[in-house]
């Protein structure tokens, strides 16, 4: 075997092995450098895997050469490749750009531990994505979650602590629900391998435990994915976390949970539970609609900039779920595209917030009055990413929203109502992004004598790279589009 055959395993193992080494590095700046290089390696591996997946359909890897279903199997499909690109890309870009922001928020003595936890979170997320084993997903989910709690709790505002405690309680309940579901399925089928599970549920006579398991798993993962009304942990955690951590997690953490949710519902349960697709739609579509409307509405009245963007994230989870709950090829493709595009837009927005965070200790909207005159580059990037979030033509956000609307229109009368909801919430997005823009560009600076400089160049470059990617993928969306449509096709292959 040559090295490239081991890419699926290396994707997880590289950050996991380097994490404990980072703890030992006491030279100033070294933990950041090593973490960034590791993250870059993970990104390179993800790109390599994506290339392979685009050529052939999927990659399987037997851990320790134990044949599935006895050993743990890693399974990289186009769906996994899409998520791997999002997670490793977000981690790399935020790390490269964010050194100064992290330095101001986290003391040098704590930095080795912080970067180690960051790498563990990265390794956990990639682990969830590549593995094909249900229990393995649970373990990686907990690695990722525990590491996320740590990097969120590194925030300097004390309000982060109750927020992270709430996240820990709700996250653990979600993971435990998932574990119960896996237990029930294992009880009936005797397997933990996802592909094997799907085949063996056929042979199960009594389907009630499987139905209960489907409920537990869907609910547990919905908690992790912050699906409305199980989102209570998200706004405060994102608001008070270090800015760069918010940028990283907002781009990927809820999406990874949604990825597992979709894999279970479409690949494992779909074929085996009668009218499962109807239950899926009836249960999740109202939640998606509520998430879109209520979270966007709350964002309009939010007074903290990060809080505003966090509530907007909840609404975006709603869009992704809405696309999936249509259970149609265009709908699912739109949902998956929105995963990618929202990661781009929200990553860029939170990086711009990190730029502002370099100059302001408090990010209440009133503090930012007139800031665009002092930090024109930061605010220009914010506007660009904001346009993508709203879905203005020419940006990435437009592509997925347009696809979502055209998918909804195929659903008849219900679809028209959904389109109305999407349009209304996009208008709400215009309102809340405009509130920031109006204040920053047309508000008066609080004191004439107080001068604020532009953010550090390196952070600004990272922000602009993220913002320009919104334009690039708005004009040339072929890469995420081909991955998303291939994944949607594979998720829907079992549909009657």
């Amino acid at each position: 075997m040559i090295l490239t055959d081991h890419l699926p395993a290396l994707q997880v193992v590289v950050p996991m092995l380097i994490a404990p080494l980072v703890v030992l590095m006491r030279v100033r700046g070294l933990p950041w450098a090593v973490a960034t290089v590791t993250s870059l390696m993970a990104f390179a591996i993800a790109v390599g895997l994506t290339n392979t997946v685009l050529d052939s359909y999927s990659v399987t890897y037997e851990m320790g050469s134990w044949r599935a279903p006895y050993g743990i199997e890693l399974h990289v499909t186009s769906f996994s490749a899409l998520l791997l690109l999002i997670v490793t890309g977000a981690s790399t870009l935020t790390l490269v750009a964010g050194k100064q922001s992290i330095d101001t928020e986290i003391g040098h003595d704590r930095q080795p531990l912080f970067y180690a936890a960051w790498l563990l979170a990265l390794s956990g997320f990639t682990g969830i994505i590549v593995t094909g084993d249900a229990f393995n997903i649970f373990v990686f989910m907990e690695i990722a979650s525990l590491a996320s709690y740590v990097i969120i709790a590194a925030g300097s505002d004390r309000r982060v602590l109750p927020a992270v405690f709430k996240y820990l309680i709700m996250g653990t309940i979600g993971a435990t629900f998932y574990l119960i579901g896996i237990g029930l399925i294992y009880m009936m089928t005797g397997t933990l391998n996802l592909a094997d599970m799907e085949a063996r549920i056929h042979e199960v006579g009594e389907l009630r435990p499987i139905l209960v398991a489907a409920g537990f798993i869907t609910l547990g993962l919905a908690l992790k994915a912050a699906v409305f009304p199980l989102h209570a942990w998200l706004p405060h955690s994102y608001t008070y976390a270090p800015h760069i951590v918010t940028a990283f997690l907002a781009a990927c953490s809820t999406k990874v949970a949604l990825y597992v949710l979709l894999r279970f519902d479409f690949l494992v349960f779909q074929q085996n539970l009668s009218t499962h697709e109807v239950q899926f739609t009836v249960f999740l579509m109202p939640l998606a609609v509520f998430a879109i409307l209520i979270a966007s509405g709350v964002a309009v009245f939010e007074r903290n900039l990060k809080g505003l963007l966090a509530y907007s994230s909840l609404a975006q989870v709603g869009y992704i779920l809405l696309g999936a709950s249509l259970v149609s090829m265009p709908g699912l493709t739109a949902g998956l595209m929105h995963m990618f595009n929202h990661a781009l837009a929200k990553g860029a927005l939170f990086l711009a917030v990190a730029c502002l965070g370099m100059r302001f200790t408090r990010l209440e909207l009133v503090n930012l009055s007139g800031v665009a005159r002092q930090m024109p580059w930061t605010m220009a990037a914010f506007v660009l990413a904001g346009l993508s979030l709203i879905g203005v033509p020419g940006t990435a956000g437009f592509i997925s929203k347009w696809m979502l609307i055209s998918a909804a229109l195929q659903e008849g009368a219900l679809g028209v109502a959904l389109v109305a909801i999407i349009v209304v919430s996009s208008l709400l997005a215009v309102v809340y992004i405009w509130r920031v823009i109006e204040l920053a560009y047309f508000g008066d600076p609080p004191e004439a004598g107080q001068s604020v400089n532009e953010a550090p160049v390196w952070l600004l470059v990272g922000t602009w790279v993220a913002a320009l990617m919104n334009i690039y993928f708005g004009i040339i969306p072929s890469l995420p589009l081909s991955l998303a449509s291939e994944s949607a096709a594979s998720l829907l292959q079992h549909l009657p």
Partner: protein, 119 residues
């Protein structure tokens, strides 16, 4: 009789709900964590219960014994991992509670909320 025979599963449900009840209703953060631990232990019980085969013994192959019935060892291995995860979660939770105590001076949830309300 069959319903009573499944007493382990009844215990699982009762313990699970006890833990969840504590997590939801208790205002003291330590009590919440205790509830969370109880909640997780219930799942351990579920896994341990399902691996038991009537008359089954430890899965060790012996020479000359062909018709031995074995209990399934896999769930035990899984739950060993889950216990480790549970301990880490509790430890991290307690560490956060210590930091809450340091910066707020209390570990009652509503008092913490009130302290932040004034900011």
């Amino acid at each position: 009789m069959e319903l009573l025979g499944l007493y382990n599963y009844w215990a699982f449900a009762v313990v699970l709900m006890t833990g969840l009840y504590a997590v939801i209703t208790k205002g003291n953060l330590i009590k919440k964590l205790i509830g969370l631990s109880i909640f997780q232990s219930a799942v351990f019980l579920l896994y341990i219960t399902m691996n038991k085969v009537d008359g089954g013994t430890a899965p060790i192959v012996q020479k000359g014994v062909a018709d031995q019935v074995f209990s399934n060892p896999l769930p035990q291995v899984l739950i060993l991992t889950a216990i480790v995860v549970g301990i880490s979660t509790t430890a991290l939770g307690l560490a956060i509670v210590i930091r809450i105590k340091e910066s707020y001076g209390t570990i009652e949830e509503h008092e913490v909320q009130n302290l932040d309300h004034d900011l």
